[in-house]
Symmetry: C2
Subunit: 402 residues, 2 copies
């Protein structure tokens, strides 16, 4: 490890680099890795690198174990002329995180977290997840040869369990919501020697920084006006913002984009606190949204997201399931098929333009957090047409209908 | 278009660059783009390029429309120390094509094919597909704003249709097998002005070449002894071999790897012809394999794959569904979750090592053709364990069982 420290995001208490518990002993807010002052991007072609190597100056590690990588990150930034003209906005881009090894952004944080777990001597890892993170930690745990425990809320759609179990971890459905299980896992980890790479461990946040670094490179260091992040636990948006701030500190960019924290209105604890002008979030009772991947009723980084975005003039927004479904179809009709949570960004931009909060001469990047094949029950909502023909009739059918 | 020609892979008849029909008028074998003599790799970081740009010297296009790209290619090459020691082989790598925009290798060929379709003035495209290619052509067709017709065998697992229809094409299930529909589509295309970007159109083969180029770059131009390709229509293995041959011609590599054409024994027309020492393939009656993505009973490039691999001392192999399922689980337990067809490569290597045809001091690259979420009915075959616990009991359950 480099000579780094963890710092509490709220009270600024300092912890040493072998600290594993993700929250402050005093104020119970999340810790983060203290930012190094300046750094540079390793040159060359990303085809021959991992994100750990390319952005090594900005990571907490001196030695990197490349063999723990599955080839995460370096995802495309796709411009959409069609959707930008439809929205009446200057430019909209999609950072397609569904092109990761387990088809969500989680892989970036997992490859960072697992480096730390192994460095600290752990032989068992775990996570508490509503789906994407579970698949990711299971995959990387298997790759690293570690015993892996996945705790999942028993309310998870059943179709999400098998693709986690395929990787070979111990999958346990627990009768409780994500918020309850998250806090319980901290004790379970301590008592059983399991490193829980949960959504807001400092190293997962470090992994999410690389999304910002790549956006900067892909936009030739001209940052967009906004970056929209579908937000659940809050770890990803924290990491992306930290990444932009570090690149500004290092002189790569002139300004940090305004972050948009986008939630589903069926579970929007951070947006609710913002709207009610509160300092801290409150647990959402009976969360319900089609965007299961961001259905966390009591996000562990919620207060910190509130604080950070208020400082940087960020935006908080909540979108309905109808807005999400509409955006999901629009995205697919532009070639990008994301899970419902992935469409929350586009839905948010549309709403914010209608409210005149995002302007037509501005540029936006939306994070596509995970792939559409992750949640197939959503097809029912779209009334998708499928035709049938005999081999002999197909020519005339096409001549008349295509 | 550059000053290129199509050439018949069998009788070598020459066709002009605006030719659309993918097969020779005389001998009915597939056409291919005539190889340019030498080329070079565009430098720089692949994060800021498309595959069309990086390998432009080896593509048939003078002008490239980047806006048709969804960020295909530049997929990881993942080494597996665990599986290589398990197999007793020097090194095994996996080229993970499930990290493409629609989660299969097809996207490479589609982005090439659609350039040609638009250049030739088409406003409608189509494909005949058992799944992966359909999703890919639908996505790129939507991105390009073209009307897209997808012909699918009515025997396709239903779960594959919705994720195709999401992109907005006209999906038609046709009562017939893939082989019948393929040949019918050639007439439908002519009569209705639809460019069918089928599995072996010359430009799709051009796209598959980029898999070889990337492997060369990722292995620092020291090519492996073998590249194993799960093979259905034959277009992908043709493209990968052509890519290696072109890089050898251009002086980037010293030798072309031996290609392994791996099929499922429930549908192995190319392997059958090889085993029977025949010059041409015969249609497989009643194909049946868990690897639906490669279940083509009469592959349009079958004869050409036979010819080319015989010349280069390639290997033909067929693996059972049991071998495929075993390999699929082993792969997932190393962090890579592919659809059953994707596991055919690893299953083939295992069988060939048992038969002493691949040796322990050799190096192999397996192509992971598509992602595991594409075919979820396979979970039933794996007897995946999932546990349940109350929130209060989870700590003691883990203490005793994890």
């Amino acid at each position: 490890m480099k000579d780094i420290h963890f710092i509490c995001t709220y009270c600024h208490k300092i912890y040493s680099s072998d600290h594993v518990h993700p929250r402050c002993d005093e104020c119970h807010e999340p810790l983060e890795v203290e930012t190094v002052e300046r750094g540079t991007i390793s040159g060359g072609n990303s085809l021959n690198q991992t994100i750990l190597e390319r952005y090594a100056d900005f990571s907490p590690f001196v030695h990197i174990d490349k063999q723990l990588s599955l080839g995460e990150g370096f995802t495309p930034l796709v411009a959409s002329p069609k959707l930008s003209s439809g929205l009446g906005i200057k430019k909209i881009f999609f950072k397609n995180e569904s092109q990761n090894p387990t088809w969500s952004f989680k892989d970036r944080g997992t490859v960072f977290g697992i480096q730390h777990a192994i460095r600290c001597g752990y032989e068992r890892i775990g996570t508490v997840s509503s789906g994407n993170m579970a698949a990711s930690v299971a995959a990387y745990g298997s790759k690293a040869g570690l015993r892996t425990v996945i705790l999942v809320s028993a309310t998870i759609p059943m179709e999400k369990l098998n693709p986690i179990s395929m990787y070979g971890p111990m999958v346990i459905t627990v009768d409780g919501d994500y918020g309850d299980i998250y806090f319980r896992s901290l004790d379970i980890g301590k008592q059983n020697g399991i490193y829980f790479i949960n959504s807001d461990v400092p190293f997962r946040v470090e992994g999410s920084k690389t999304i910002a670094y790549e956006i900067c490179e892909q936009m030739n260091f001209e940052t967009p006006d906004y970056v929209v992040v579908p937000t659940s636990s809050g770890g990803n948006i924290r990491g992306i913002l930290k990444g932009f701030e570090e690149f500004k500190l290092s002189g790569f960019i002139d300004r940090v984009p305004r972050m948009i924290c986008a939630q589903a209105s069926g579970c929007s604890p951070i947006y609710n606190a913002y709207a009610a002008k509160k300092e801290t979030i409150s647990r959402v009772d009976n969360p319900e949204t089609i965007a299961h991947a961001i259905e966390n009723p009591f996000p562990p980084s919620g207060n910190e997201v509130l604080r950070k975005l208020r400082i940087q003039n960020g935006i908080f927004v909540a979108v309905s399931d109808d807005e999400i479904l509409h955006a999901q179809k629009k995205l697919a009709e532009d070639g990008i098929f994301g899970q419902p949570a992935s469409a929350v960004g586009l839905a948010a931009v549309k709403q914010l333009m209608n409210r005149n909060m995002v302007k037509e001469d501005e540029t936006v990047v939306c994070i596509i957090t995970g792939g559409g094949l992750k949640y197939t029950a959503v097809y029912e909502k779209h009334n998708l047409p499928i035709f049938n023909c005999s081999l002999d009739n197909v020519n005339s059918f096409i001549a008349h209908h295509a």
